[in-house]
Structure formats: C-alpha cells, structure tokens
Symmetry: C3
Subunit: 220 residues, 3 copies
C-alpha cells in the first residue's frame, strides 16, 4: 500500500539547469495569459479564466511529461506552478479591458510561449536521453499543444490552421536548440539563440504574413 | 522482460476508503449516462452510445490517474468499471425515448457527475500526498474533463462556455471536501457535505440561471 | 537524480511478437497518410502535414501506452517510428495532387488503420495481462483515437458521427482477435483473421452504406 505522500515527493529526482527552469515558468505564465485572453474573447466568468488559463499554461508541459513517463507530472508536486497560472489569469481578467486588442495580445503571448516551450520541451527530452529526432518532436508537440487545447476548449478556429508559420517556428526553435546544445555553447547561449530564431520567425510571420507555400489542390 | 500480468495486478496497491470508492463508481455511471444522452441527441447507433458513454464515464478518472502517475489507469485492472459504463449506456439507449427531455436529463446527470468527481478527484489526490491547491485542481479537472471530452467528441457546444456556474460548482465541491477533510469530520461527512455544496450550487445555477459576472469587453 | 538516458533505454523491456510489431508499424504509416490527406484537404503547409500526420499516426498507440502505463510511450525510444510518420506525410504531400479523390483515399486509409490498430491495441493489452473486456476496450480506443484527434485538430466533422459502421468495425476486429487468440491458432492467423473481419466490415459499410439502426428520437 502506498502511503500518502510516497509518490509525489520523489517526482523531481532529476535536476533542470537554471535557465531552462526559469524559461519553463515564464512559458507557463505567458501561455496562461494567452488562455485567459481567449476566455476574455469568449466572455467567460473569472473561474472560466482560471480554468482555461491553467489548462493552456500547463497543457504543453503535461503532455511532455506524460509522454516521457515523468509522472506525477511536473505541477503536481509544485503548487507554485499552478499558482503562477492562477495569478496570470486573474491579472489578465483585470488588465484585459485596457488592451486595445485582446486578439493581438493573445497572438503575441502565444508566440512567446510557442518559442519558449519548443526549447524547454527539447531540453527536457534530451536530458531524459531521448534521441535528437524525438527531442525535437517533443519540443514541437509541447510547444503547440497548449495553444491547441486552448482553441479546442474555446471552440476557436485553431492556430494550427492559420496559414502563417506556426509549426515551422516551433520546429525552428527546437532544432536550433538541439544544434546549439550539440555545439556545447552552454545552455544559456543555446536557449537565447533558439528563442531568437523561433520567436523571430513567428514574429516575422505575424508581422509580414510570412508563410510557406501551402498545399494546392489540383485544378478540377 | 515483463511477463503477461506483471503490471496490471499491482495497480491498485493503495486502498480507497468506502464512500469515495462507491461515489467514484456512481460518478462514472452518471457520466456514462450523460454521454449516452448526448449520443442520443446525435442519433448515433448503439456502439456510438457505448463508446461515448465509456469515454465520458472514464475520462475524468483517467486524466486524474495519468496526471498523478497512477498507471495503468484505474479501469484497466477493474473490468467491472468498464462494465458499469456499458450497462449504463445500453440502459440509456432503451430508456431515452421515454424521457420528456433528453437535454434536461443530460444536464442533470452531468451536474451529479460534476459534483461527485470534484470530490473523488480531490480525495484521491490528497491520498497520494498532493498539496491542497493541487488536490483541488485535480478535483476540478477530473470533474470537468468528462463533460469536455463528451462535448468535443460530439461536436456539441461546450458546457464550459455556458454562462452558468459550472467550473465554480466544481471548485466549490472540491474546496468544501478539502475543508471538511481538514476538520477531520470523517470521510462520509466530508463527502456528503461537499456533494451538497457542489451539486447545490450547480442546481441553483441551472434552475435560477445563477451566474457570476462575466467578463465584459470594453465599449468601443 | 536520473542520468541522461536512464529512463528511455529500458522502455521496451517486453517483446512484441513479429506480426503484431509489423502490423503496428503499418497501421502507424497508414494513419499518418490519412492525417496528411486531411491536412491536404485543409490546404496546410508541409509542416502542417508533418504535424497532423505524426499526431494521427502516433495518437492511438500513445493513448494505449499511457493508459497501460507503458511509458515513455513507444515512439520515444524508437525514432524510426516517428521517421515513418514523417516519410509518410512528405510522400502524401507530393502524391496527393495525383489522387482523384483525397477524401476517398483518406476514408480507406483510415479504414485500414482502424482495423490494424484494433488488433495491435488488443494484442498489446493482452500481453500486459489485461482481462478480455479491457483488452477489447483498449483495441477500440486505440483504433478510433487517431482518427478522432485528426478530426478534432482539423476541425473536421468527426468520423465518429458518420452513420456507417465505424466503432462497430473496431469492436469486431478487436473481438475477433481476442477469440482467435484464445483458440491458440497462433498470432499470425489471429491477426489475419481479425483484420479480415474488421476491415471487411468497415469496407462493406463504406461501399454499401451499411449501418446499424441508429437511435430514433420519439415523435413529438
């Protein structure tokens, strides 16, 4: 029989280096804000903000931990992670009316979270010994999953199907991190460099409508 | 090499006290009914009823177990849990035509399941040693997830976005359980009290259109 | 502290017999193609194809592994599984314009994947010692989940709600496998027989519009 507490205490027996840890918390906060902004667009009540904010903030990391078998998932033993989401959601609830465009704010928060999670997901998978292709896949999935689940819960048209570089930016961020990590430049340099590439690409896509050629159905 | 049976047998090595165990089975059954009622509204065939019923009934507990790392998830080693869902779905298939409103029945079944799962999710998380905030979060997520996945699978507008107190009722049920459990009143009293609060609040919301002030976009 | 690689290496400590292994890879490939075909219908870019293809191909097996507690999930330690998805998606990107109907191709690929996963999911659950009802449930869930997540991500109307025998075909495939496995005919015979039943039933449903009586709401 398991006794109360047996499982949860030893859940973070591996250590995460400094910048990845902080980037992870930062990514969670911005994704929680993006979730709350979508709750604002749907005119939910404060508890809707809290739920959508928490699910969006925690979703990507939760998927990553489940797939890697790192359970209980990260936030179960670390209530401050959930607290970050709740604080971010409440702050958004009160700040949202002062934004000139909740939609633009959402898109930018999502972009920051996307770039951040593509890095932290890749880094954590590498730390668990995953091969390069898997590490990048994990980065991309954990980067995109928060936004996907937010959009599904809010019955919003999916960021995924926007034509701008979305998955591409996550792949770019994850791959750059892998490359820079492989060059042994140190984790801080790898993180900053990968963020610049991932977020830079997504920003350019938002600002200039950058897109890859999309699939064209043959003419009838 | 794992031998057949190695993993599944020891999955429930911790014990769940009486009332939480029975409440859990009850919650599964009513959620399965709610899923089947939505299958009725979508005019699915009997196997659609079984699938949606099972996924709705099992969804919340499955999410909870995955997040807490209690795998294989509860129903894998306990076929009677799946059987409950299947029986509930078949019964609903035959009983549904006699209901004056399938939609009202669905909403009330969902309300009972919501209150029940908010308690069992919180109780199980506490039993695993999760801190209070996490236990309540787990209660809320496992209470709302069944309904969410039911609505997503049936492409129904989400209960989540209804303006009535939905997440609020789950939070109230989970928090009341936490409080009463902390007062050491015994598990039965805590369960009954928390159910009264959670279900009472949701009932009032359904009957009287009770709602929290929802987010108001600023005037243009 | 876990060291890099500790967890991932021992993830597949149980062995999967020959035909189930190959059937699994085959099912992943055809589901990846079906996902990519839906990406084509949504006119996504190449990275959208890769993501939807990978998620559709990997989804069913991932759910199965999570529920059974077989983590890290199968593809984490086996990059060739992800590679199969990526190759299938790229191939579909270039081949799709030459198809006379992307929709028909999608439906047939989905049917093949459905039948295949209903078998591999059941077989793997049996191998883990799950009781018969659970093994069949696992087969049905892993068979249907890839298509469900594909449709949710693409905001497509769900295969689930099509009136043709969909869940039924998965149940038939899984049950036949269970039966033939119980008769100890050998895994190859069980796999081939179950595929014939599951795929045969779904094919008949597609070709002849075969369906079960669906739920009829009572007349007003």
């Amino acid at each position: 029989m398991l006794r109360r507490g047996d499982r949860v205490q030893n859940m973070n027996g591996f250590d995460i280096s400094g910048i990845i840890h902080w980037a992870g918390l930062f990514g969670i906060a911005v994704f929680a804000v993006s979730g709350s902004l979508e709750a604002a667009r749907k005119e939910m009540d404060i508890l809707g903000f809290l739920l959508i904010g928490a699910v969006t903030g925690l979703g990507g990391g939760t998927l990553r931990d489940l797939l890697l078998g790192l359970t209980p998932v990260n936030w179960v033993g670390q209530p401050h992670i959930v607290t970050i989401c709740l604080v971010a959601s409440v702050a958004t609830y009160f700040a949202a009316p002062f934004l000139s465009s909740r939609y633009r704010a959402l898109i930018w928060m999502d972009a920051i979270g996307l770039a951040t999670f593509s890095i932290t997901g890749t880094a954590l998978a590498l730390q668990q010994g995953a091969p390069p292709l898997i590490a990048v896949s994990m980065g991309v999935m954990s980067a995109t999953f928060g936004g996907i689940i937010r959009d599904v819960l809010c019955a919003e048209s999916l960021v995924l199907s926007s034509r701008e570089l979305y998955v591409t930016a996550a792949v770019a961020g994850a791959s750059t991190y892998l490359l820079l990590d492989g060059l042994a430049l140190g984790e801080t340099a790898a993180t900053v460099g990968a963020f610049a590439v991932g977020f830079g690409l997504r920003s350019a896509a938002i600002l200039f409508g950058l897109k890859l050629p999309h699939y064209q159905p043959p003419r009838a």
